[in-house]
Amino acid sequence: MGIIQAENLVHEYIRRDEDGNVEEINRALDDINIDIQAGQFIAILGHNGSGKSTLAKHLNAILMPTEGTLWVDGMDTLDRENIWKVRQSAGMVFQNPDNQIVANVVEEDVGFGPENLGVPTEDIWKRVEECLKDVRMYEFRKASPNHLSGGQKQRVAIAGILAMHPKCIVLDEPTAMLDPVGRKEVIKTITRLNKEENITVILITHYMEEVVNADAVLVMDKGRIVMQGTPKEVFSKVDKLKEYRLTVPEVTLLAHKLRQKGVPVSKGILTTEQLVEEIKKVM
């Protein structure tokens, strides 16, 4: 059993009128089955309203399954007693960097999670130092979050989650509100954490460029997982991705167009370097 496992997971948002009668049922997750192993870097892609954020909220026990079961590190999220342990083992980074920083000083914010867990004072300091160094924000430890850029704030938020010593980090569109530089910083940071610290990463996004380093990509649409595989496998099906209203990276699209015109480049090209190599071979 992996670190995160879902079996026939279903979630329904139920809207009721004033008398409590059911007005509308919206099936946001429909029969989700996943099994994520420790140390993996998983990307979940999907258009707005595809259910990807609902899935993220399940991983952190913010939402509970309507049907089916979800295990996080072997704990059933439906069990109320597990709720804090689940949140500690699957840390969650949210979209808006401002709205998830609690304290007025960077180091105090990173210490917030360990404080809540009841970690002794000296250990909190050790964890804060370690985690701020991990995200390369140690020199800003005395700064006010208000003076940081979006990407830096998001790295502080990641450090705040790391300090709780989670087994897995779930990032719910962490780059959606950042500029391109901040976006790169954040993606670089989580990729390094995954490779060097061996932390399981689940990245939810709709930017395709961010998922090229992932071990596996899941594509969601209308609450279902419609495609899964390595980035290469998924991106080789350009037409299918377009059906799900996802835009493939420009390089992949260019390679795809070249193939259509009869240039023999291989399928599922993800980076500029790969395409350059392929074209060199052809010429």
Binding site: V102, V105, E108, P114, W125, V128
Partner: protein
């Protein structure tokens, strides 16, 4: 105008007063203010002024900066002095001109009232100058945690204060953005009568409130995701521990009280 208000600001400096435990400063200021009202005679005010001067010196904050804190209450101060001077009835008339009548008692009461107000404002602003908002809320939380017994949720109050402090600059910035956006749509904030201008504030306040609620909701969720469940079972990254200088400061407060009482008794004996 908002920039003029120095009460509640922090003045960065390395001094003994800055390093004191916030609980000492809170208790000290509280006692100082109460004593200003109890001992309202020459000796009381003289000693209070002296004590204030000593603390200012020790805090290394320029006196000019501290006195700036009086600017927003200058009008209130003059008004109080004015009323006391002309309307306190007394027997020792110094000057009489028509209905204007200044008495010795009125002058005395005006002077005392003025000094008391000045010391009150300056004393409490000195505390905020030397204590960061974070430290202040920490001090409140720990200093007042005995109130938990009376079901006062002191941890929650302190947490709310520190979150409010964190979001003030963010919301100010947002107000600025909304104002610009609404100006671009033709809302006029600078002209017209007071009533029209007040009505024009509505298109700022509504989006601001909506956004504040959304932020609150996001933050609550983020805090829960980081296992926040109230003050119980929490440890502190920066716990407050009394040092030797804090005990010394408490001792000085006791000495101050003793001197006040002694002086007051002596004064009462001779008069």
């Amino acid at each position: 105008m908002l920039r003029d208000i120095t009460i509640g600001q922090y003045y960065r400096e390395e001094s003994v007063i800055h390093r004191l435990d916030p609980r000492v400063k809170l208790a000290g200021t509280f006692i100082y203010i109460i004593l200003l009202f109890i001992f309202d005679n020459i000796w009381g005010y003289a000693l209070a002024t002296l004590a204030f001067a000593v603390v200012v010196k020790a805090s290394r904050i320029p006196l000019k900066f501290i006195l700036k804190g009086l600017r927003p209450i200058l009008f209130l101060l003059l008004l109080t002095v004015f009323f006391n001077m002309f309307f306190v009835t007394g027997t020792h008339v110094i000057l009489q001109y028509g209905i204007i009548r200044i008495t010795w008692e009125g002058l005395k009461s005006a002077a005392f009232m003025g000094i008391r107000l000045i010391l009150l404002i300056l004393g409490s602003s000195l505390m905020t100058y030397t204590t960061t908002p974070n430290h202040l809320t920490d001090g409140l939380e720990k200093g007042l945690n005995w109130m938990n017994k009376f079901k006062v949720p002191i941890h929650e109050i302190a947490m709310m204060m520190s979150i409010a402090l964190r979001f003030i600059p963010i919301l100010l910035e947002e107000t600025d953005i909304i104002m610009k956006a609404q100006s671009a749509r033709g809302v006029d904030f600078e002209h017209g009568r007071v009533w029209t201008r007040a009505k024009n504030m509505v298109p700022i306040l509504v989006p601001l409130f909506i956004s504040a609620f959304r932020r609150a909701n996001d933050l609550a969720r983020a805090m829960e995701a980081r296992c926040y469940r109230g003050g119980e079972g929490r440890t502190k990254m920066k716990p407050l521990v009394y040092a030797r200088r804090d005990r010394a400061a408490y001792l000085l407060v006791v000495v101050y009280i003793a001197l006040l009482i002694a002086g007051d008794r002596t004064l009462a004996y001779f008069l």
